[in-house]
């Protein structure tokens, strides 16, 4: 409503009249163009979503090779070329209409097996940009082209193209200038668009992907076999080569739901969760259930603000999952999310349990790279400096006599001869303890340095944890049951999981709507702040659907008990004790890192040592 610039006394009257006009407007059907623009707001949020939709279409068309070209952050131009099935001119005419798709053959939304199905992408894009589609089926005489410009559909014309489809989107959002204002920098938009292609590339190792954008060298992911090896190779291509050495294959199946993928070692963690990739039936998703499950599985392996690197593929009957939750299809609903969570947590823990006995190799790599530039650093000692140090050095020399007094106890590092059969063990044979803190062990092809306190702490902790799992958590009944006000949603969510909580020693029940009554608490926690615990739990439950805070508190107690019950730094270990520690680390789950996620040992390969000395 526009106000008249010079104020006059009749202004109010006029204003009311206009208001009345607005309120008396008749209801009418919105035009197709407006509907498409509204829908576009949901499907086409930014260039990355256009790229995603188009690449998904290409994949659904059975393409073996997909080329993506971006210009101006995808705003000026997005071109996706594939060698898929293509479309006939009749199909092409229909394809740019709303809710027209080839992908739901029997109109069954319960079993969606293609990436797209809503029939919204092309008309939505056409509504906000200049869209051109050239396509040709294998046996068509020539290709056809259609142009949609800001929602105005042109006629189908003959064009030239080999088999497949080429879609060009130019001047994205020129028809909805408001959207343009929300675009980030070209660089940032390019990065998210490339990220979107990467996600799809991870899902389909059997397809070749080429991504070209102005500000970066073109990336080519060559097609791999559609097997576990092929997938790993693609992951290494996409996520970086050091992933291979620092990740473990994850495999699991339960009640027809299959899980595969890789999990990064806890010591190979990142500061954010962007390096977590999830695929449900080949569809890249970012789902709370999945994210939460991964968090739960890594709960006591990582420090709170670190995130693991994972790529997980969930395969299940399409009827067990609803992908039609959000137009962009990044969220899904599982019919049985508890099953999915349990499967992920269990499979990850199984894989990490054996795998996390390893610590990541990056520690050693870092060491090598730090150490190298030291060559020749001592070359510049001036003669002046040395004269001065000579004078003060005299007094020190006098003191030095005292430094060699033998300590009353034998504090020499203990040495051991390597028993040859121990050299073949993963952590090798203990050779010496240095600084009464670190165990140096020799393997066939390198050297292992173990932090004895961190390592033993983990061993004790794992034992306590196992005991807790085996015997359950002892429960102390409360004399005065505590009532905690939570609000109806949180309270209901918590009460729903009462059975699980009881296993961990916390017995609650509903107390009216919006409150819970705590009857029993884990005896381990002693005199604790129940209310804070319950609130924490409820909030976590609402977000992640998991009882992590309680688990974490119990484990924190176990953790501090294990800290007190373990061999400290400064304790001298005999060769047999050191070897026993190494052998136990080899057989204990998660022995590769201490309770705080730091490595318990680092391994230096002989080749690394040779690098340090410039032999290689």
């Amino acid at each position: 409503m526009i106000f008249p610039a010079p104020f006059n006394p009749f202004f109010l009257l006029e204003f009311c009249a206009r208001l009345a006009q607005v309120f008396h407007m008749p209801v009418r059907q919105l035009s197709e163009a407006v509907i498409n623009r509204i829908a576009a707001g949901e499907v086409v949020e930014r260039p990355a979503s256009v790229v995603k939709e188009l690449v998904e279409n290409a994949l659904d068309a059975g393409a073996r090779r997909i080329e993506v070209v971006l210009s101006g952050g995808g705003q000026r131009l997005i071109r996706v070329t594939d060698d898929g099935a293509g479309m006939t001119p009749q199909d092409l005419q229909l394809a740019v209409d709303r809710h027209a798709t080839s992908k739901l053959p029997d109109d069954d939304l319960n079993s969606v097996s293609t990436l797209g199905f809503r029939g919204e992408a092309l008309p939505s894009i056409g509504a906000v940009a200049k869209l051109s589609i050239i396509t040709r089926t294998k046996d068509a005489a020539n290709a056809s082209e259609i142009v949609v410009d800001g929602g105005r559909k042109g006629a189908v014309r003959p064009a030239a193209l080999g088999a497949g489809t080429r879609i060009e989107v130019r001047d994205l959002f020129y028809a909805t200038p408001a959207r343009l204002k929300f675009m980030k920098s070209e660089r940032a938009e390019t990065a998210t668009a490339v990220e979107a292609v990467k996600r799809l590339a991870l899902a389909r190792p059997d397809v070749t992907f080429v991504i070209a954008a102005e500000d970066r060298p073109p990336i080519t992911y060559a097609a791999q076999s559609d097997s576990a090896e092929g997938r790993l190779a693609r992951m290494a291509d996409v996520l970086g080569a050091d992933l291979k050495e620092n990740a473990i294959a994850v495999e699991g199946e339960r009640e027809g739901v299959k899980l595969s993928g890789i999990a990064g070692l806890p010591t190979f963690s990142r500061a954010n969760s962007l390096s977590q990739y999830f695929f449900v039936n080949g569809r890249p998703v970012r789902d709370k259930v999945l994210l939460g499950a991964v968090r739960g599985a890594y709960a006591d392996l990582l420090h709170g603000d670190r995130h693991p690197v994972v790529a997980l593929f969930v395969t299940l009957d399409p009827r067990e999952v609803d992908v039609n939750v959000h137009p962009a299809k990044t969220e899904v609903r599982f019919r049985d999310s508890g099953l999915i969570r349990a499967l992920i947590v269990r499979s990850l823990q199984d894989a990490l349990g054996t795998g996390a006995r390893r610590a990541s190799t990056t520690g050693a790599t870092r060491l090598v790279s730090f150490a190298r530039p030291h060559r020749g650093a001592r070359g510049h000692v001036s003669w002046r400096g040395s004269a001065a140090s000579l004078r003060s050095g005299f007094a020190e020399a006098a003191q030095e006599a005292f430094a060699h007094f033998e300590p009353s106890a034998d504090a020499r590092p203990s040495f051991a001869l390597a028993a040859p059969d121990l050299l073949d063990k993963p952590l090798g044979a203990a050779r010496a303890q240095v600084h009464e803190t670190y165990i140096v062990a020799q393997t066939r092809d390198g050297l292992v340095i173990v932090d004895q306190h961190a390592a033993h702490e983990r061993l004790v902790y794992e034992k306590l944890k196992a005991a807790m799992e085996r015997d359950g958590v002892a429960r102390q009944i409360l004399l005065v049951p505590a009532v905690v006000e939570l609000g109806p949603d949180n309270a209901a969510a918590l009460v729903e999981r009462a059975a699980d909580l009881a296993k961990m020693g916390l017995v609650i029940e509903a107390f009216g709507s919006g409150a819970v009554l705590v009857r029993e608490q884990p005896a381990l926690l002693g005199d604790t702040d129940i209310e804070a615990l319950i609130r924490d739990l409820a909030e976590h439950m609402a977000e992640w659907d998991a009882a992590l805070p309680l688990e974490r508190r119990l484990l924190a107690v176990a953790s501090s008990m294990s800290c007190h019950g373990s061999v400290r730094a400064g304790r001298r270990l005999k060769p047999d004790e050191m070897n026993a520690l190494l052998r136990e680390m080899e057989t204990t789950d998660y022995a590769g890192q201490c309770n705080h996620g730091r490595p318990t040992y680092i391994e230096l390969k002989l080749s690394d040592i040779e690098k340090l000395f410039g032999r290689r």
Binding site: I477, L478, V480, D529
Partner: protein, 371 residues
């Protein structure tokens, strides 16, 4: 100020007051003890803003005056002075130091002006009564163990002291941490009726426990809803009270427990202590299996083994299995004075009542553990 005082007297008084002073302070004056010389002798005063202890002691005062010096330091100095020596305290000429002389030792301590020293004692304390020292000791000693250390339920961080009307009227102390409860009462002293129920904080309780050792026959108590003062001979302790509502504890004291178990207290405590040796974890339960005339205590720890012990007891109800936190059982057993303790049980999920069979006036409630 110039004053001479017996080292032993000074040491004893300082040992009383210096405990109140926290080791680390953000307000410098709180690290100090106020020393005031007047007609009646020497007065020492220390505070942590919640609690104030004042003690007077005889001294030869040459010049009256007052100053403050670091409490822990002067205590350490006096402690290390030779026995039987006379200590002379003199304010320095510049009033910035206090000279401490004894024998051949000379100390000069930095002082802070006494005008900065906080005064907690101000305000009316309308309710006044006195109790026998032994009674007060009983009230606090037997309930102190059950005070909660958990700070969000701050109203449980102390002993709830209140008058109970009836015939005869009682003065009652209650403490609970949500797992167990202790209740002790004495015959109401004169002047108690009408007093508000007050929660005496944990630190004050532990100070009283130490101070009653050197107190006379009677302790005078004055209180208002916000403050309480104990006058124990030459020592006066004034404390703020916890501002909160103590829960309605009466509801959790079971009335209908019909299964009565009587044990020899010493045997029982020793047996609990013995079997709980095999439990490693904190809060590990001990299981009590009751049959006619027989009690079997058992602890199982899958990591290290198990332990059982049988006791002959007075019990004639139906067999019952019930678990308790062994530390809680030992805590309560330690409070039982007589030879026999009586336990009144209902079922493994309900509160159990423990009492001294010989001495009335004290009862304990303990919640079982799930075993």
């Amino acid at each position: 100020m110039k004053v001479t005082v017996e080292r032993a007297e000074l040491l004893k008084s300082l040992s009383h007051v210096h405990r109140v002073v926290e080791r680390r302070n953000t307000i410098p004056i709180l690290a100090n003890v106020l020393i005031k010389a007047g007609k009646s002798g020497l007065e020492l005063k220390a505070t942590d803003l919640d609690l104030e202890v004042v003690e007077t002691l005889p001294a030869e005062v040459k010049t009256a005056g007052s100053t403050t010096v670091p409490a822990h330091m002067i205590y350490d100095i006096v402690r290390k002075l030779p026995e039987g020596s006379q200590v002379e305290l003199t304010s320095g000429s510049d009033r910035g130091t206090l000279a401490v002389k004894a024998g051949r030792s000379r100390f000069s301590l930095q002082t802070l002006p006494e005008s900065d020293f906080p005064d907690l004692a101000a305000g009316e304390l309308p309710h006044k009564f006195s109790v026998a020292t032994s009674d007060l000791k009983r009230l606090v000693d037997k309930t102190q163990f059950a005070i909660s250390t958990e700070e969000t339920r701050y109203y449980l961080n102390g002993i709830y002291l209140h008058a109970v009307e009836g015939k005869p009227a009682k003065l009652r102390a209650v403490a609970t941490d949500g797992h167990r409860l202790a209740q002790v009462e004495i015959a109401a002293p004169k002047g108690v009726t009408g007093m508000p129920g007050v929660i005496v904080p944990r630190k004050t309780v532990s100070e009283i426990q130490k101070l009653v050792e050197d107190a006379g026959e009677e302790v005078e108590i004055e209180l208002s809803p916000a403050k309480i003062r104990f006058s124990l001979g030459k020592v006066t302790l004034t404390s703020k009270l916890i501002d909160g509502t103590f829960p309605d504890y009466g509801r959790v004291i079971p009335a209908g427990n019909d299964k009565t178990l009587v044990v020899e207290k010493a045997d029982f405590a020793n047996a609990v202590d013995r079997v709980s040796t095999v439990s490693s974890e904190r809060g590990r339960a001990v299981k009590l299996s009751l049959a006619s005339g027989k009690l079997t205590l058992s602890v199982t720890n899958p990591d290290s083994g198990s332990a059982t012990e049988e006791l002959e007891v007075e019990y004639s109800s139906d067999p019952l299995d019930i678990g308790f936190n062994s530390r809680y059982l030992l805590d309560i057993a330690a409070q039982i004075e007589g030879e026999k303790a009586e336990l009144k049980l209902a079922d493994p999920g309900s509160p159990t009542l423990l009492q001294d069979q010989d001495a009335a006036g004290a009862l304990y409630v303990l919640m079982p553990m799930r075993v």
